[in-house]
Symmetry: C2
Subunit: 451 residues, 2 copies
């Protein structure tokens, strides 16, 4: 059995790679190998218990687009890659040849030793169907829920479980939730929204152990000495790249455990590509390895890999990832792209910043407006756009994507001051108050006054 | 009386220019001269009768931001510019000196001879406070309303008046409404929405005359021989630049009647700038004069003018306008940026096109999704992005702004295929189905197969 293109993994990266491969090379045979019969749409797993009514089948990536485009699917687990013979070997004993191999192996939840336990009802963010099925059942039965880790996943689960009337506590080791994606002033707006809804936040706090009863979790012990009652615990601390298979095949692995890839997603073997959570990400500004493990990144890495699968076509090398956070908490929307103040400081990048507030309609009397607060960071010497954060209504999402694109194009303050844009009373801020050029002009004011 | 910077006009362009001038040059004195005591926010005039409850005062540009930043305001009309003495003369006999003069004179509704009448209750799109006040009163009293011209203004008035239960007919000389901004397949979705709401559309039709009674309009005669009953008529055919004052002062006027400006919004007099509807617009692709008279354009032209008021600062010349349409009809949102198929044909620009359909959330089971349909045009030889049109939910608006920005940066299909973007279940299409890179990959498929 041999295929022109074999893709290992059925998530956002693997799925996109298969569709893209059949689109760009309709004559090539394409095989997807994945472990799960059904792949859950990863981004919406936090919303299954509440918004999706507990029905996992409402969150399935359908196979029909794959099948319709001629992709074959094998439900099996690859246990070995033989680069010499250009074959992969599966758990069920199949040996499958490839001409080009795309690794979309995903990531696995991190669970530190101190949090490992045999107690029932302690969950991590494992995305496999049966694991999530059990998780959802236990969420439904539980009243007191402790979420360990106030990152995006933990906060989105919390937002959904609030609707189910659960008593939720978040335990976060940092001074606030979401601080890996947002600066404090935005994180605190999110935290206040959760607190208003009755969520208890324990920041600067870690979990030191569990209390069990009859083999089930009954509580968690905190570093501040408190004990929280718990019918269940959900650990959303972070994830690590699945690179074991690649390492065993002798592919180059980066220090942070991700599979090394070049500007076209090629691994150290020219016939093997890696995309998504398992592949090394580099920050666009510094080139440093960075933990930007997002489904959207997996999808565009898939497109880059497939475009350049049979020789480099785009020629324009992919320079690195711009992290984009989009989330919604109690109906309020948060977005961020590029560097925050804390990441800029960590990288040693000097910046200037400005903030602008407006509303997302004009005039504000037309319907109920959402307040928009936007902050942007620019390099303090050459005024290149470094990052943006915003809170507001739903229009924030594509506005952040606009600015992620602007970051990728290396724009500076002069470019943003003359940004072309359209406005409409029901759909956007006013022409005068549109946030991006206003922030640019506030920075320009400083530049002009310093000369 | 002398000011460093004098701005004539209080609309989106003049207002932004004044704020921007005080921001970038806080030590300069800035005077706004405008005719109206109260300036209506022009974009929302169509929504005063219905959504704003008939209250004009809910659609006023507030003077407080101007006053707070130190801008002085003179309610008067400039009747002469004397370039020799660098002064302007007003109707009330004031003579005011300037160092730099910014013309934001706006535009006036076009009303062809054949549509001119002395009958009452025939209105044009005059934006002055008292004119609009009368217009709103008559809309309220009227039952049968004929809108002449199915462009954006006419359609937005119609959308608002539907809420008031009016019997509305639109008479449009072209084969469909909105054809100056959208291609037929998008225009027809808009037309269907209006028809569903009971609006009668007469396309390929013009008004040939009126029927009056007691000095008031009672009906209109159509080119197809029909007569429509009418309690009022609203003519929204188009506008022409207000350049009379500039012409009398000897400034260079373009063939289409707009004030000639260079890449930094300078007129033929280096101390006089022109912005907004009165200033010449050039299409970004062809450099041809183009009728892109939009409040958002006025605002960013204001920023360009002010930035470069005392010597060229941005150095990057402004290359031309990308027209951006954003509108909403019966809750459905329409957007367009750059060239449509018909404008591309008119300019003789060869293009290829592709369409993608998706929904604005993922999975589609999460809440009620809005279907997004997006079409993009690319140059058929170098695959530069030429234009985009979309219909969908509200997120269309900033997505269109993203693509307007992409057009301004001269991106091609390879850039869009590897577009960086973020996704979130409640806020965007899925990573796999996100429309922009999917359209790019459909075009790539053709490029790859042709080699």
């Amino acid at each position: 059995m041999k295929y022109d293109i074999v893709v290992i993994g059925g998530g956002a990266g693997g799925f996109t790679a298969c569709l893209e491969a059949k689109r760009l090379y309709p004559d090539k045979s394409v095989l997807m190998i994945r472990r799960d019969e059904h792949t859950l749409i990863p981004c919406a797993i936090p919303y299954i218990a509440g918004a999706l009514g507990g029905d996992l089948n409402k969150d399935i990536l359908p196979d029909s687009p794959l099948k319709d485009s001629g992709v074959e699917i094998l439900i099996d687990e690859v246990v070995k890659i033989d680069r010499e013979s250009k074959t992969v070997e599966t758990k069920n004993g199949k040996v499958i040849g490839y001409d080009k191999l795309i690794l979309a192996l995903g990531s696995t939840s991190i669970i530190p030793k101190s949090l490992q336990t045999d107690l029932e009802n302690v969950f991590i963010m494992n995305k496999s169907y049966n694991y999530v099925k059990k998780l959802i059942e236990v969420i439904k039965e539980s009243d007191k829920i402790v979420v360990v880790g106030g990152g995006v996943a933990g906060v989105e689960f919390t937002d959904d479980m609030i609707r189910l009337g659960k008593n939720i506590s978040i335990v976060e080791i940092l001074p606030n939730i979401l601080l890996l994606n947002l600066d404090e002033e935005f994180a605190s707006i999110a935290a206040d929204k959760l607190k208003e809804a009755g969520v208890k936040l324990y920041t600067n706090t870690s979990v030191t152990g569990y209390i069990g009863e009859g083999g089930r979790v009954k509580g968690v012990k905190l570093s501040n000495g408190m004990v929280l009652d718990a019918d269940m615990v959900l650990i959303t601390i972070g994830v690590k790249p699945n690179s074991g298979l690649a390492a065993e095949a002798g592919l180059k692995i980066a220090e942070n455990g991700a599979i090394e890839v070049d500007e076209y997603m090629r691994t150290s073997d020219p016939n093997i590509y890696a995309i998504g959570d398992c592949a090394l990400k580099r920050d666009i500004f510094t080139g440093s390895p960075a933990p930007y493990l997002l489904a959207s990144v997996a999808a565009y890495e898939a497109r880059i890999a497939v475009e350049n699968l049979y020789g480099v076509k785009s020629v324009k090398p992919f320079k690195g990832i711009i992290p984009v956070l989009l989330t919604t908490i109690r109906g309020l929307c948060f977005g961020a792209a590029g560097l925050t103040e804390s990441t800029a400081k960590r990288y040693g990048i000097e910046y200037v910043k400005e903030t602008h507030e407006t509303v997302d309609i004009h005039p504000g009397t037309l319907t109920t407006p959402n307040k928009i607060t936007m902050k942007m960071l620019f390099s303090s010497k050459n005024y290149r756009l470094l990052g943006v954060q915003a809170v507001g209504g739903k229009s924030i999402s594509e506005l952040i994507n606009l600015l992620a694109f602007a970051i990728s194009r290396g724009v500076n303050i002069y470019d943003l001051h003359m940004l072309p844009y359209g406005t409409q009373p029901y759909l956007t801020a006013s022409p005068i108050a549109y946030p991006v050029p206003n922030i640019a002009s506030k920075i320009l004011k400083r530049i002009f006054s310093s000369n």
